[in-house]
């Protein structure tokens, strides 16, 4: 009875992951990491002083239409469970310690993705006394996803490039 009314929701078709990004990531990945990480990644969001726009788009990514988990990507809530830190925001001086601690608590091998223009280089807030100018000021960044904020499609193609590089 239920089966007659239930129809699976069709998630949106997506463009393939960006080939150049995949290649550049591949070069940076050592074989030990491939062994351990496999074909799925646990993502931890670390807010580094964002306006909330990147978070809104990350939440959309988690929603039904993008359905992140079908790619083996899932959000976790503690650094100990994470493979990837998704850092948003221009990195305020006040959040520096929080990011450092999250990075230290994340087991190796780990990745850092700078999400959004602010996390890439400070974005519009460049030159303010209160910011350090992006995640790269404190931790090594493996991948940048630009945009203000990056759309879910863009976020997904960046994250899938990471996944591809990780699996090859």
């Amino acid at each position: 009875m239920i089966g007659r009314f239930w129809k699976p929701r069709a998630a949106d078709p997506l463009p393939p992951p960006d080939e150049d990004t995949t290649r550049s990531l591949l070069e940076r990945l050592d074989s030990a990491a491939q062994m351990r990480l496999g074909r799925s990644l646990a993502l931890l969001h670390v807010n580094g002083g964002s306006c909330g726009g990147c978070e809104m788009e990350l939440r959309a990514l988690r929603g039904v239409l993008y359905d992140l988990e079908r790619f083996g990507l899932r959000f976790v809530t503690a650094p100990a469970q994470a493979d990837v830190l998704l850092v948003t925001g221009a990195l305020t001086r006040t959040l520096r310690v929080a990011l450092e601690q999250a990075w230290d608590a994340t087991p190796d091998p780990k990745w850092v993705v700078a999400v959004g223009d602010c996390a890439v280089d400070g974005g519009v807030f460049k030159g303010s006394y209160a910011i350090l100018g992006g995640a790269g000021a404190v931790v090594p960044v493996d991948l940048t996803i630009s945009g203000c904020p990056p759309s879910p499609v863009r976020l997904l193609s960046g994250l899938r490039a990471l996944l591809e590089a990780n699996a090859r």
Partner: protein, 495 residues
């Protein structure tokens, strides 16, 4: 209304559309002392520039709005926080940014300044040298010995703002709750100074992404009031539409998060899907999913033709079509019964904190910035219970209301220009816009077309303290549901 007559008796400077009264220090102190007699006189905002401290007061019902200022003498001014506890965060902010002391204030701990900036009081005329490495703000001491402390944040992994919440637990019950914000301080007040309004609008649009249209619009209207500029009717109509679209998108996002917090994943999915369709429609219509940088002082930055309006109609249509299903799911799920009685805000507290938006109206406070102008016959939906369920129900009602407004607005869109140029003159203005979370106020003073001083008042200034109070007595496991029911955003308060 003794406080009001003290303010009215003082001379005023021109500020559009409400004059700003300049009080002598003894008069300001007398006004502060008279405030407890006038509970209806709400303190909406308290802010400063290098030489003065300004207050914005509001009498709900009469929609009477008064601005008052006092000069800072010997680095201090009489505090308002003894009469209005909500003023404490403002006073701490003023001290951290400008170095002005609130004499007799109830709380003098640092707020935005966690001891990490290169200098203290970065906005003061002469920033004092940093004598000692400042310490990050301390928390209030535990109310008694049996209280266990539970810290939450700033890294929560919940795709949220960075904040720190410290709960004091008596067994399962929350005996004490204190939020510490300031983590997201990007120095926006300093970035606004000396810029032309059009340039500054980029920072204003990034104060808080969930209210990017509301902040940009209130800022633009304050600048237009200051410069006596009239915006073309087409831009006015489109701005109103954008504001309602933003409200729908944010309410859907909040409802999805409330649903997820109480385990009603069906509700979350029923909200996320129409929201995404709306955002795609907005991207086609205005060129940006969140409509960031679309509203600028003088008009709109986007060009909107018939094709764009059609895309907008499609996006709104997707929400209208999904709404009956969402309501059904909300009623069928255990969502509303679970939220009943959680996180109650009594009407008196809502009044004291000048709590606006869904949270204020859920406690019976009949205030919506859309009442101020432009919308004849607009009646905001009200609830009385003041709990998380009331806030959730109101969000659904407001989506219906916004869809009605949008249908009216889309019926007739005036033709014409999208924006006008701004003159390079001096002036002062204040404006108010209703965002999804509550009333957004912007004040600014322009000097030959450049910003001399500005302050954005985000609804979060009232929402966070209301949430702190509402957590008292709740079970610790309900914290997330209560937080979500307020729709808290820290970025707008952190500046």
């Amino acid at each position: 209304m003794r406080a009001l007559s003290i303010i009215r008796a003082a001379g005023a400077e021109t500020c559009h559309p409400w004059p700003r009264h300049i009080l002598r220090t003894p008069d300001w102190a007398a006004m502060a002392q008279a405030l407890p007699e006038d509970p209806a006189l709400c303190l909406v905002a308290l802010w400063a520039d290098t030489v003065q401290v300004h207050a914005l007061l509001h009498v709900v019902g009469a929609e009477r709005i008064v601005l008052a200022s006092v000069s800072v003498e010997a680095g201090g001014y009489p505090a308002l926080s003894p009469a209005r506890p909500g003023a404490a965060w403002f006073e701490r902010t003023i001290h951290d940014l400008y170095g002005h002391r609130a004499e007799g204030g109830i709380d003098s701990r640092p707020w935005l300044d966690h001891g990490t900036w290169p200098h203290a009081a970065p906005l003061s005329a002469r920033p004092p040298p940093l004598e000692h490495p400042a310490e990050s703000p301390s928390f209030l001491p535990a109310v008694d010995e049996g209280v266990a402390s539970l810290p939450i944040g700033p890294v929560t992994g919940t795709l949220d703002d960075a904040f720190h919440l410290r709960l004091g637990l008596h067994g399962e019950a929350i005996a004490q709750a204190e939020a510490r914000l300031g983590y997201l301080h990007r120095g926006i007040p300093a970035l606004l100074r000396g810029k032309a309004p059009r340039t500054a609008a980029r920072f204003v649009a990034r104060l808080a992404a969930d209210a990017t249209v509301a902040h940009a619009l209130a800022f633009a209207q304050a600048a237009e009031a200051a410069l006596a500029v009239t915006v073309p009717p087409r831009a006015v109509a489109l701005r109103r539409m954008m504001l309602e679209c933003e409200r729908i998108a944010v309410h859907l996002d909040d409802l999805a998060m409330i649903g997820a917090a109480v385990g009603a994943s069906g509700v979350a999915a029923a909200c996320a899907e129409p929201r995404e369709h709306l955002l795609r429609g907005l991207e086609q219509a205005f060129g940006h999913r969140l409509m960031m940088d679309c509203v600028v002082p003088g008009g709109l930055a986007a060009t909107v033709g018939p094709a764009e309006l059609q895309a907008l109609r499609r996006g709104i249509g997707a929400v209208a079509a999904a709404l009956p299903g969402l309501r059904r799911r909300l009623e069928a799920s255990a969502c509303l019964p679970r939220l009943t009685g959680l996180g109650t805000v009594p009407p008196a507290l809502a009044e004291t904190l000048a709590l606006g938006g869904v949270a204020g109206r859920a406690s019976g406070r009949r205030w919506d910035a859309r009442l101020l102008r432009g919308l004849d016959g607009f009646v905001p939906a009200l609830e009385r219970a003041g709990d998380a369920a009331a806030r959730t129900r109101l969000r659904v009602m407001e989506i219906v209301g916004s869809l009605d407004l949008l249908a009216q607005l889309l019926d007739f869109v005036p033709e014409g220009e999208m924006s006008v140029a701004l003159p390079m003159v001096s002036g002062e203005g204040v404006a108010c816009v209703e965002a999804a979370r509550g009333d957004v106020w912007h004040w600014l003073r322009l000097d030959h077309g450049q910003i001399a001083a500005a302050f954005p008042r985000d609804p979060g200034w009232a929402l966070w303290p209301a949430m702190e109070a509402a957590l008292h007595g709740a079970a610790a496991e309900e914290t997330l549901a209560i937080l979500r029911s307020f729709g808290l955003v820290a970025a707008g308060v952190d500046l």
